[in-house]
């Protein structure tokens, strides 16, 4: 009791004195103060409920309190509306304004917590958001294919381009002029899983960062996102060219497809999300630029959370099955199955009750 009283006493020193007792109504000389004293108990009850909600203690509130919340909120709101017209008590008005806006944040706040939201996200919200990005996905896919082609053609015309596109360390064997055996060795498997999980965690952290960058750059009308796509895919094109020179392109494709179908799909989605925002800002249509950007941003943010999940899966695939499974056919089977899964999940999975409308709130 004493402990609780001390901070309150300090608060009282710092802030204006707080009313602790409510004097009887007859004592008030002013009509507006009588109005206030009549309703004060309701305001305090609302404040107590709101404070408990803000502290995340909603479970500790009684059912009666929770049921009363909307009524108390409306009472406070209508008290505020009438006091604005009848009272000149600035302190009471300020208190009510803040109380009503705090209550407003709670009554109209996020309806779901993180986990409730996650459930609705996995069960339809994500795929609906991906479908809402349809045109952007097609554009980004075209740009990515073009990027790979450009990479291939550039290296074909001048081998020096390879060194500019593919960042290589001193020990890098994947360079023009490498023998077939050297290249084939890079597609091989590890003997055990030692170290691979660290590798997976590193890959995830790195790839997710790239995807978030691709999304965030979409803010500049989507152009930088597309440039990033071209750059990444040109690198892939150059690698394909290199392995094609030694007749290993099918093996490389199998090696890449294990995680690549998931990872490239994720990169595709993040590029498309960036482009979606950029397009909404460049061509907002009937909405204001800010509203259009906001709507597009919320829709593509959903996709981006999904991309982070995809990157986790891709990193696991990249570190384990790709390094442990050797056969070209098996690698294609894993990669193909993942691709089929994603396509089915995004475009065929439409749970009942979930509509595309919730992707565009």
């Amino acid at each position: 009791m004493k402990l609780a009283a001390l901070p309150r006493g300090l608060m009282g020193l710092l802030r204006r004195s707080e009313a602790t007792t409510s004097p009887d109504l007859a004592a008030a000389a002013l009509r507006s103060d009588r109005f206030r004293l009549e309703r004060e108990a309701d305001w305090r009850r609302l404040e107590a409920i709101i404070t408990a909600m803000e502290k995340g203690r909603i479970g500790k509130l009684s059912d009666a309190d929770l049921l009363a919340l909307p009524t108390l909120y409306r009472t406070a709101a209508s008290s505020l509306a009438s006091l604005r017209e009848t009272s000149l008590d600035a302190a009471t008005l300020a208190y009510l304004e803040h109380l009503v806006s705090r209550a407003w944040f709670q009554v109209y706040g996020p309806r779901l917590g993180l986990f409730g939201w996650l459930r609705s996200f996995l069960r339809g919200g994500w795929s609906a958001a991906v479908r809402a990005l349809g045109p952007d996905i097609l554009i980004t896919l075209a740009v990515m294919v073009a990027g790979a082609l450009v990479g291939w053609l550039l290296v074909t015309s001048d081998v020096d381009w390879f060194y500019r596109l593919v960042p290589g360390g001193p020990g890098e064997v994947r360079v023009p002029g490498a023998s077939r055996e050297e290249l084939a060795a890079t597609l091989g498997t590890e003997a055990g899983i030692g170290g691979l999980s660290t590798f997976a965690a590193y890959l995830f952290s790195n790839n997710a960062g790239v995807c978030i960058l691709a999304f965030a750059l979409g803010f500049a009308f989507g152009i930088p996102s597309l440039l990033l796509m071209v750059h990444n895919m040109a690198l892939l094109g150059a690698l394909l060219w290199l392995f094609d020179g030694q007749g290993l392109v099918v093996e490389l494709a199998a090696w890449l497809s294990v995680h690549g179908t998931t990872e490239l799909f994720g990169i595709l989605l993040s590029g498309a999300s960036g482009l979606h925002i950029g397009r909404a800002m460049a061509f907002p249509g009937d909405m204001s630029v800010l509203d259009a950007a906001g709507a597009a941003g919320r829709r593509s943010a959903l996709v981006m959370v999904g991309v982070v999940f995809m990157m986790i899966i891709a990193a696991l695939l990249e570190a384990f099955p790709r390094q442990l499974v050797a056969g070209t056919a098996e690698r294609f089977a894993i990669g193909g199955a993942m691709l089929a899964f994603w396509l089915a999940y995004f475009f065929l999975y439409r749970p009942r009750g979930e509509t595309d409308a919730d992707a565009a709130p």
């Binding site: 707080e18 009313a19 995340g56 709101a77 009848t86 600035a90 803040h98 806006s101 109209y108 906001g294």
Partner: protein
């Protein structure tokens, strides 16, 4: 509050309309408060991560000594597990810290709460998880990449390396993001624009005493027993603005200020200023003036200040 700060604070006031049709005033958080909150949050994350590292090293230091970072001499077993824990931990704390807290009922990270600000959806929309996610994903390219980039290029320029025009183009580009909040009225950063959010002040205001419940408010002083009554001419001098200044003085209760104001009012209404009963006089005057002004208000007359 200085003279120049007042209009700036006024500029940050916005009004939102609730679904009930009630206009609620909001104050946009100042850019300084937001930067401060971000610095606090980053420091909290860094501090937590460093503590986590130190604890890990203290507990399992021997394991990490032999651990390498590259794949060729990768660690195994327990050390590997620890490394994964670290990598995932850094990633999760970086993004999770902001997401979990801003999705919570307070709509604010610890740093924001300390500075009394929170995020809210612009207009009368509901704050959604998507909005919170969108605004947090953009923070990296808005703030951290530019800062890292600026520091790196500044260092390399100082070291006499050839930076070239590309660097300056990039600096300008990043500066655009970093300085975006200064180019719009609402102090929106790129993440806010994308998410449809803004950051507003969330002060705690306590309900103050009703002022008209004292004995003095009904005209009779409790200390001296004097009875104060004011006529229409005496109450007609002041308006709402003066009334609310007087309210603030009465609530703050600084004796020196009360004495001064007592003298001013007495001179103004032509009374002989006494001494020792200032508070009772002012309470009586306040109650009488407010009663008159509120009555006028009910009849649709608002006297904004003494000049009107």
């Amino acid at each position: 509050m200085t003279a120049s700060a007042l209009p700036r604070a006024e500029q940050r006031r916005r009004v939102i309309t609730t679904p009930e049709g009630l206009a609620l005033p909001l104050v946009i958080a100042s850019r300084g408060a937001r930067a401060g909150a971000l610095i606090l949050d980053v420091m909290i994350i860094l501090f937590a991560l460093i503590t986590f590292h130190i604890v890990l090293i203290a507990v399992a230091g021997g394991l990490l000594d032999t651990a390498g970072s590259s794949i060729s001499n990768a660690p195994t077993g327990a050390a590997e597990f620890l490394q994964i824990l670290l990598i995932i931990g850094v990633f999760l704390s970086w993004y999770g810290y902001f997401l979990v807290q801003e999705l919570g009922p307070r709509g604010a990270t610890l740093g924001k709460r300390i500075l009394g600000i929170r995020i809210a959806a612009r207009g009368q929309a509901r704050l959604t998880p998507e909005a919170v996610i969108a605004r947090n994903l953009l923070r990296d390219i808005e703030v951290f990449y530019p800062l890292v980039f600026l520091v790196v290029s500044a260092v390399s320029a100082l070291a006499g390396e050839d930076t070239g025009p590309m660097i300056w183009a990039a600096v300008g580009w990043f500066a655009l993001f970093l300085l975006l909040p200064f180019f719009n009225r609402d102090g929106l950063r790129a993440g806010d624009i994308i998410a449809g959010t803004w950051v507003v002040e969330a002060p705690r205001v306590r309900l103050a005493e009703a002022l008209s419940t004292t004995q003095a408010a009904r005209g009779t002083s409790a200390t001296s027993g004097a009875r104060y009554t004011f006529g229409p001419a005496e109450l007609g001098i002041y308006g709402i603005r003066e009334l609310q200044v007087l309210e603030r003085l009465l609530r703050d209760g600084q004796e020196q200020a009360l004495v001064t104001v007592h003298q001013t009012i007495c001179t103004k209404i032509g009374w002989e200023p006494g001494a020792g009963d200032e508070r009772a006089f002012l309470e009586a005057f306040y109650a009488a003036l407010r009663a008159k002004l509120e009555k006028d208000m009910r009849f649709g007359k608002r006297k904004a200040d003494k000049f009107s």
